[in-house]
Symmetry: C2
Subunit: 412 residues, 2 copies
């Protein structure tokens, strides 16, 4: 599937589906009726898709055993989504969810092997990616598979090197593409890949691998400490990350999916959440690179479940009792406005970035929240939409035109 | 439940139940019919009990969530055993099985906490032990719970100290006893606890905690290298371990359950397996301390499942297609002979052990397979049944009488 140039395609709006009863543990007791009740909430606010998360070790408890019932439960969820006209993107390797890693016994303790570098594990994972991708591709409403949610968070418990991380993802994306050429095959990383100079997953993994670039914008990454909850740095962070991703791609037309964004407490207090949601969406939705926005997450987490970081409990668009929240009404309003049509992108200026994230990952800290570059971008972004452009392409008219950039500013 | 003095009670014979289809992964798709077919095999050779192994993280995927359906599946298996008149001993925390550790995400990676020392984890585990023990105690054919299979193998991935290991097990056994006073509450360790001088689980854990002492005799621990497959050290190892356990207990009448013993390849070749089984059972069954023998395991492991140590695939009394093996007929014959009545224990001599395993765990290597003491015991054991007695009690007539010892030999 070749995505349309993003500025012409309608924006997609969806939610990361977190079951209201029993979180992802509910896969062990899957109920289509429970899922139906949850997805009705999401369809009711006008969303067009969900991102869903099977739990890897429960489907593949042995390297050579993929449980058909586990697959069938996933397909049932996809079919429930279809009942509501919802598209589905399937993340395969969970893997990492809300601070918990789900890893099979065949990569732990006495069988400890790195997910990213061990050849036998790679073969097992490839079989899993192949099988699940083929299975979900039988459903017309599935439009994408992602290798797994924020697989970069599976490091450091699984050692890897930058080269190994890239090879691992590239090989598995090939497997997914071969299994289902019709689907978007995607990679997904937490933003440590963008900002942590020592992280063994690099920005080029996000920008070069997969059918589009995905980004996850979480203001607890340091940006809310700059000026949260409603300051310009905090509210524009999603747009900033989309711009960093767009500026770092070789292809000026490569779309960027804001695959996760949320309003986490205590960074964003309950009272400020509606204004934060409106502000961040107003900032990011005009971005011509934007493919869509997928909110984290659909439903709150029952407080009877233990050990989650406190912020994870209240991230839902709906409570565990299916009550809509004030911030959710803001999202729903933006969705409705967006359905009226996406405005033609207006030309905008770009700020030149002296760090080449493609070739200088060791300098990632220089674009992280709180860096000089970030502060300058935030300052100028208050005037209006502002792109980012790499120094090596800042004088390339064709490139600038392709990205809708009509002026180039150098940092003060 | 107070077990009868072992020399008066009939010997118990059973099997460690390993499902023929899908190994323990089959819990994720539990089928009472499949279990019924398997347990029919075991009842058919005259066994009186099974030891069963729920998978901890699938029943308690969150510290505060114990899945009722997981519990119900376990109860269904217990009820199937009852259909065949089989007693059931339930191991709670798996935990460790055939080289694989099953650990929940709430003690791994970003939530890494030692199972043995973290207070919150301890509370979670205590809730699990309490709940499962209460539930299985509702079934009359359940006679025991064990904290978990070879929990000492969960170290070193879970750090602990000797004191912490003891406290952990003692507290959880209290929980189990309170939950179901009628049941034997037991501890279970791999024999590293008996032989490895540095192991942070000690012999006193086995001999002092729980309603009786359990031992697991595996000739791949080094003893088969002495003279396997049919040499005296190899064939007598189970008896040796039962004796070490009996000699190390404070109570001279404390029973010892040979809770696991098997004929692992390549140490014991297929051709030698029947003679090995007959030899080891002839050696150990006259031991007055012996409570019973539970074979590892009921059924072979399908070779389509990956990553197990090679020896794990062929340990079954039955193949995955329910075919009985020649060695199994030897076990069945011994069971039938035993049912005719347990002979009154004949007095026997004891070899004095200069290592006090209760107080000198750092000297465990001096009784390990291949040690001088072990070699001397094996040499003399060829003449006839031979006890072991600690030097501090070798001149205590009441103690010696209680253990049926009529003469004391000192090592050459």
């Amino acid at each position: 599937m070749t995505p349309q140039p993003p500025s012409q395609a309608p924006l997609r709006f969806g939610a990361n589906y977190v079951p209201s009863a029993g979180w992802f543990y509910s896969w062990l007791d899957f109920s289509a009726d429970d899922a139906r009740r949850d997805l009705a909430d999401l369809a009711g606010i006008g969303l067009d898709h969900v991102r869903v998360f099977p739990i890897w070790p429960w489907i593949q408890p042995n390297r050579t055993l993929i449980r058909q019932r586990g697959v069938d439960d996933l397909l049932s969820l996809v079919d429930v989504a279809a009942e509501f006209g919802l598209g589905v993107s399937v993340d395969l390797l969970q893997g990492h969810l809300s601070s918990f890693d789900f890893l099979p016994s065949w990569v732990l303790t006495w069988h400890r092997r790195s997910l990213f570098t061990d050849p036998a594990v790679r073969d097992g994972v490839a079989a899993y990616v192949d099988r699940l991708t083929r299975e979900v591709a039988t459903r017309d409403n599935v439009f994408a598979v992602t290798l797994g949610n924020e697989v970069d968070n599976l490091w450091p418990s699984n050692p890897t090197t930058p080269e190994d991380s890239t090879r691992w993802a590239a090989e598995l994306l090939d497997v997914a593409r071969s299994a289902a050429p019709r689907l978007l095959a995607l990679h997904s990383v937490y933003d440590a890949t963008w900002y942590d100079p020592g992280h063994p997953f690099r920005p080029v993994d996000a920008t070069d691998l997969g059918g589009l670039t995905t980004v996850h914008s979480w203001v607890f990454n340091g940006v809310s400490a700059v000026d949260g909850p409603l300051g310009p740095a905090t509210v524009s962070h999603a747009d900033y990350l989309v711009e960093l991703a767009a500026a770092s791609a070789l292809d000026p037309a490569r779309p960027v999916w804001l695959q996760e964004v949320g309003a986490p407490r205590p960074d964003i207090g309950e009272r400020d959440a509606p204004a934060f949601v409106r502000g961040l969406l107003d900032a990011v939705t005009p971005n011509p690179a934007l493919w869509g926005v997928t909110w984290w997450c659909s439903h709150d987490l029952d407080r009877s479940l233990a050990d989650f970081p406190d912020r994870e409990y209240d991230l839902g668009l709906f409570t565990v009792d299916h009550e809509i929240k004030p911030a959710t009404r803001e999202l729903a309003a933006v969705v409705a406005e967006s359905r009226a049509g996406r405005p033609a992108p207006a030309p905008r200026p770009a700020l030149v970035c002296g760090v080449d994230l493609r070739t200088q990952p060791e300098r990632r800290g220089e674009v992280a929240p709180g860096s000089e570059f970030h502060a300058e971008w935030v300052r100028l972004r208050q005037v209006g939409p502002l792109a980012i452009v790499g120094a090596d392409r800042a004088a390339d008219p064709a490139y600038l035109a392709a990205r809708g950039i009509d002026a180039v500013l150098t940092p003060a």
